[in-house]
Symmetry: C2
Subunit: 225 residues, 2 copies
Amino acid sequence: MMFKIPMKISDYLQIWNKLSAAEQHLLEDSAVLHTVKAGENVHDGTKECTGLLLVCDGQLRAFILSDEGREITLYRLLERDICLFSASCIITSIQFDITVTAEKDTSFWLIPTEIYKNLMSESVIISNYTNEIMAMRMSDVMWLMEQVMWKSFDKRLAGFLLEESALNDSEKLSITHETIANHLGTAREVVTRMLKYFQSEGLVTLSRGSIEIINKNMLNQLSDS
Amino acid sequence: MMFKIPMKISDYLQIWNKLSAAEQHLLEDSAVLHTVKAGENVHDGTKECTGLLLVCDGQLRAFILSDEGREITLYRLLERDICLFSASCIITSIQFDITVTAEKDTSFWLIPTEIYKNLMSESVIISNYTNEIMAMRMSDVMWLMEQVMWKSFDKRLAGFLLEESALNDSEKLSITHETIANHLGTAREVVTRMLKYFQSEGLVTLSRGSIEIINKNMLNQLSDS
């Protein structure tokens, strides 16, 4: 029989050592470890307060949805990342909704909104940590805004393929054109057309349900140009 | 001779009454009232830390610039609004630059970065207030992102004209097509073409250097559709 090492929230929350013993106990007692399969929905934008998500292992994707069902990825959450906007009612001025799904099998702690809200209102450590998290996510969104506004689609697609390759540690990506379109906020046809152009230029090889990167250097040059 | 009522920062900072006497004195002693003319630059994105701007009177515009000099407006700052990102070094994770200019003659308090940073690290009131400000600005940017991603240009332009009309309390807007293009992150030609279409549909009347709104209801319908 395998011995299973229990996962502790103390190993994952970056500010753990700066918290008081009482604060630590409160978090240990209230946070619940959840596991979800790849593809599962973790937070639905229409629900206000799922709670804060602290990723233990796996990969979550935060995105926004249009009324017509179009999507664009805002950021990814990996090990030790924390998602604030799945508990948007902790801060009155958060006036937008995000949706969070698992891209890989993922385990995460769910910190109840009320617990965190109380901690934040009393501890300057937790409040300033919250400032840093929000600034990080806002920086992601500002980067995305600049991409969408000023960068042509070929460069964004090149950057996305390289990022996917790094996240999965593989040159061969099992991803559909539809999924890429949902990450980048465009239509499937636009993705297919550009990928075919990339193939004709010798950057990638396309096959059913997968894309293989064959010239990483040129993709990098395109993405950075 | 006119008697000039001195403007006090205590009348403008929303959390004033929640601060300690020491904190209040520190802010009163360190914040400096500045006045700028319409068109003047207040914060240049390449400079990291101008300080926090607390608007007393007038109107500031915060925007981002592309490498090629294109612009898009992120938000406006009016009386009692505070700008955090002109002091981006107060929070390590702020990894983007904004530029701030005056759109009208404006007076504002400049709160020195170091003073605010120290207050924020010690006071849970100020730290949580900072969270609220950041959430507000992030909500503005998320709104803008949704507009840019999902809303057609005619609707965005209709919304912009109505907003300008409200800000200036006038149906007649003294604004060039170039300036509108810089607000909306597009090219002047795109604005001119759409305004001419609006004119042909009886929504506005165009003349040199100004745009007059003549059918507010239809602009509202277009903007909300």
